[in-house]
């Protein structure tokens, strides 16, 4: 049984999502709160398997919470609740360590499936996000950088992302590449991890440059 911490300030949505989590076999609610403060208080006591959080919260941003659980000892999984699932809003959360998003008005089935996929070691991804991940982690080879830099994504990961960006589902991709659904899903999760690590190392790099972090302590 995997535990889910739900952070959502809209009462109706929170109640609906809480119901869906409770109703999904294999999931249970770690807590359902409306603010960052409340969520922090809960996280003091323990760690959920999954953090499901809205981004725009009354007293802060869900990204803070994502970072916190990702850097905690448990390395909880994180997922974002989004109204539109658009690139602009979701990417920052993915960089902080979230592995996918659910739409606020998503169907019960879809939301349950996404959460289960996450705890099972995979991740959902949508076409626009896949396209962004490709742009970010697999830039078009240009003469200067490509020759020197080690490619971040494996060929298989690139294949998966490219197919997702064109609208293919995991099942279709699995069939095209002769691999299992689970393998596709875990490829995607790996890609999310790479984005997270890369974002963090870039952030550290920038912080060191700015003198905010000293590397020797």
């Amino acid at each position: 049984m995997s535990t889910v911490l739900l952070v959502e300030d809209d009462d109706n949505t929170r109640e609906r999502l809480a119901r869906i989590i409770e109703a999904t076999e294999g999931l249970s609610l770690f807590g359902a709160v409306a603010t960052v403060t409340e969520a922090r208080a809960l996280l003091e006591k323990g760690a959920p398997d999954v953090l499901l959080t809205d981004l725009g919260l009354p007293d802060g941003n869900g990204i803070e919470l994502i970072r916190r659980v990702r850097q905690g000892d448990r390395r909880s999984e994180a997922m974002v609740i989004s109204v539109f699932g658009d690139e602009r809003h979701v990417i920052a959360a993915l960089e902080a360590g979230a592995a996918g998003y659910i739409l606020k008005d998503g169907t019960t089935e879809h939301i349950g499936k996404s959460l289960l996929q996450l705890v099972a070691g995979g991740s959902p991804v949508s076409a626009p996000i896949a396209r962004h991940l490709l742009k970010r982690l697999h830039p078009e080879p240009d003469a200067a950088s490509a020759s020197r830099e080690e490619p971040i994504l494996s060929d298989r990961e690139v294949d998966v992302l490219t197919a997702v960006a064109k609208g293919f589902t995991y099942n279709e991709i699995a069939e095209m590449l002769s691999i299992s659904f689970h393998t596709v899903s875990s490829h995607v999760k790996h890609i999310y991890r790479k984005l997270e690590v890369r974002s963090r190392s870039e952030a550290v790099y920038e912080a060191v440059n700015l003198g905010l972090i000293r590397m020797d302590d």
Partner: protein
């Protein structure tokens, strides 16, 4: 050259120029007086006996009709018709000189030979025509020790005038060499060396001016000045050359013509200096002086030639020379420009000396000083060279000023352009923003707005089932998402647009239980594909897929894409019941789809696929 609007008299400049001219004039006169001063403490011979005979040896003292004359002896005044004659002077010594003595003849026309006690001690050159011409140079003859004896010695001087000239003998001096020779040399420098230097300077300046003219052809000023200098140099050669290399006629023609043409060149030069264009006047002048030249040269008879030349030609030349002086003077008065005053000041000595020469040639002034005009070359050269330098200095200033204004204009122009460009950029930016705002407004109005208004109307009607309500609101949200997706940077990649669309429709597709066959391959990029057209494409395809889900009762939905070299196509095909009859189509929003396609420059085709329907949307690769 530059035009000078009414300039005020600049009194400091006037004073400066006048002072410099006056000082130069006084210094020149002073030098002339110093150099031409007669020797002292020697025997000055002021009278002699004269006999106009053409013997080659000194005539016998008793022969013929010797008569007493005073020196200077001007044959023209004394009505001596002959060209040749002898002077006899008696010198008494109680103690004869026992060292080198000399005979100094400051002025003679034209040639002289000296004899002491019948012994020739020297001559000024040839006595046969063309006679050596010494009227403009002093002569000095050494008297060797022993030539002058105790008691009475006889000094005989043979004098011969050149053709067309009247004989003349100024005072002569006899004395010790060391006293007399320096006096001769001093006067020689004045009469010969100075003129040589002046002539060389004229030629040099002429060469420089021609050089200047050759690199600045459009400016004739330098050329005309060079011609003035050359004509004058020719005039000076007459003064300097003793034994002429050609016949008297040719030489005298050249000598008189040089005077006339000097005046002509001066006139043209003055016109150019004053920027006056008088082509008719100049043509007539050329024609007249040319005709006069030919006429003068054609005169064979020597006496007539010299009469015409001295009386008319030189007079005409002199009067012509007054014209440029008058022009320059009036220009100075009119404009007050100091460069004209300098020219006038430089011209005054020329007028005075050439006036003297003119009067002398016509017998109005005794020829004690000989020709003088050659000396005024110095002031004219100096003055006119200064004028030309001022001219060029001003021209250089003007062009530099022009460059400066040009540069500053270019800079200002650059600034204006930049600011215009910035304004334009701002306007463009505002235009882009306005267009985008308008597009979003339109999209909202078309999609979300319409759905919400419809939902509001439904909410007022209690009979509407909640499912309809949910559907409408779902549609509104869906459309909003399409609008948001369309704003994504798609980079013209239609495959990813299809990917986005499928992600959006995933819920409805899963719910419908229809089988989706997704046949989307790599598509060429269409960089011109803006958010507006992306949205229209997504709406058309969404509408098409929704129609299939709602109306077609199909089991399979196929989405296929492909491309040829002109376009990209997207096909949506189903295996359902096919299109309804025309009358029943209105609910399917087909008209709206065609309208959107037209607006976005797309081609939409819908046809039977038996079984089912096939919709094909074509996007041109290079929309014109």
């Amino acid at each position: 050259m530059d035009s000078r609007p009414g300039r005020q008299f600049s009194w400091p400049a006037v004073t400066l120029v006048l002072s410099v001219t006056l000082i130069m004039l006084l210094a020149g006169i002073q030098y002339y007086r110093y150099a031409s001063a007669p020797p002292r403490d020697v025997i000055a011979i002021g009278e002699a006996r004269f006999l106009d005979t053409e013997t080659l040896k000194p005539p016998e003292p008793e022969s013929g009709a010797w008569r007493k004359v005073a020196l200077p002896h001007d044959w023209r005044k004394a009505d001596v018709e002959a060209r040749e004659g002898w002077y006899s002077i008696e010198l008494k010594f109680r103690v004869p000189p026992n060292r080198l003595w000399g005979l100094y003849v400051p002025r003679v026309t034209s040639n002289i030979a000296a004899y002491i006690n019948g012994e020739n001690i020297g001559s000024g050159g040839r006595f046969n025509d063309p006679v050596a011409r010494n009227e403009n140079r002093p002569l000095y003859f050494s008297i060797p020790n022993g030539y002058l004896g105790n008691g009475i010695n006889t000094l005989n001087l043979r004098v011969k005038a050149a053709a067309g000239k009247h004989g003349y003998l100024g005072p002569v001096y006899i004395g010790p060499d060391e006293v007399l020779r320096p006096v001769f040399q001093r006067f020689y420098r004045l009469k010969v060396v100075v003129v040589e230097i002046a002539t060389a300077s004229l030629v040099l300046v002429a060469v420089l001016m021609i050089g200047l003219w050759s690199v600045r052809r459009e400016d004739g000023l330098a050329l005309w000045f060079a011609l003035v200098c050359l004509a004058w140099a020719l005039h000076n050669f007459n003064v300097l050359v003793v034994e002429i290399p050609v016949s008297v006629h040719v030489w005298e023609c050249v000598r008189y013509l040089s005077d006339g043409w000097f005046a002509v060149m001066l006139v043209i030069f003055t016109h150019r200096l004053l920027d006056m264009r008088l082509p008719r006047f100049e043509f007539l002048l050329f024609a007249g002086v040319s005709a006069g030249s030919l006429w003068l040269c054609a005169i064979d008879d020597a006496q007539t030639f010299f009469h015409i030349a001295n009386s008319y030609w030189v007079t005409a030349s002199y009067l012509l020379g007054l014209y440029p002086a008058a022009r320059l003077f009036s220009a100075w008065l009119k404009t007050g420009d100091s460069e004209y005053m300098i020219a006038v000041c430089a011209g005054v000595p020329v007028l005075l000396t050439s006036g003297h020469d003119w009067l002398m040639l016509n017998g109005q002034v005794p020829p004690h000083h000989g020709l003088l005009m050659q000396y005024s070359a110095a002031t004219l050269l100096l003055g006119f060279t200064v004028v030309l330098l001022i001219r060029y200095g001003r021209a250089v200033n003007a062009s530099e000023e022009l460059m400066r204004t040009l540069e500053s204009r270019v800079r200002q122009r650059g600034r204006e352009l930049e600011s215009n460009y910035r304004k334009l950029r701002k306007l463009e930016h505002e235009q882009v923003l306005a267009n985008e705002r308008e597009r979003i407004m339109r999209d909202m109005h078309d999609g979300v707005g319409g759905h919400l208004v419809s939902a509001l109307a439904m909410a007022e009607n209690n009979d509407v089932p909640p499912e309809r309500f949910r559907e409408l609101l779902g549609n509104a949200l869906q459309d909003l998402r399409l609008v948001i997706d369309s704003m994504d940077q798609t980079d013209g990649d239609l495959a990813s647009v299809l990917g986005m669309l499928r992600a959006r429709l995933q819920g409805s597709l899963e719910q419908s239980g229809i089988r989706v066959r997704w046949k989307v391959g790599d598509l060429p990029l269409i960089p011109e594909l803006g958010p507006d057209r992306v949205l229209q494409i997504m709406r058309i395809l969404q509408e098409a897929i929704t129609n299939v889900l709602k109306h077609a009762r199909a089991r399979t939905l196929t989405v296929r894409s492909g491309a040829d070299e002109h376009s990209v196509f997207i096909e949506i095909a189903d295996d359902g019941k096919g299109l309804p009859d025309k009358e029943q189509r209105h609910g399917h929003g087909l008209g709206n789809m065609f309208h959107r396609a037209r607006r976005a420059g797309l081609t939409l085709e819908i046809g039977d696929a038996s079984p089912g329907t096939c919709l094909r949307l074509t996007v041109p690769l290079n929309p014109q």
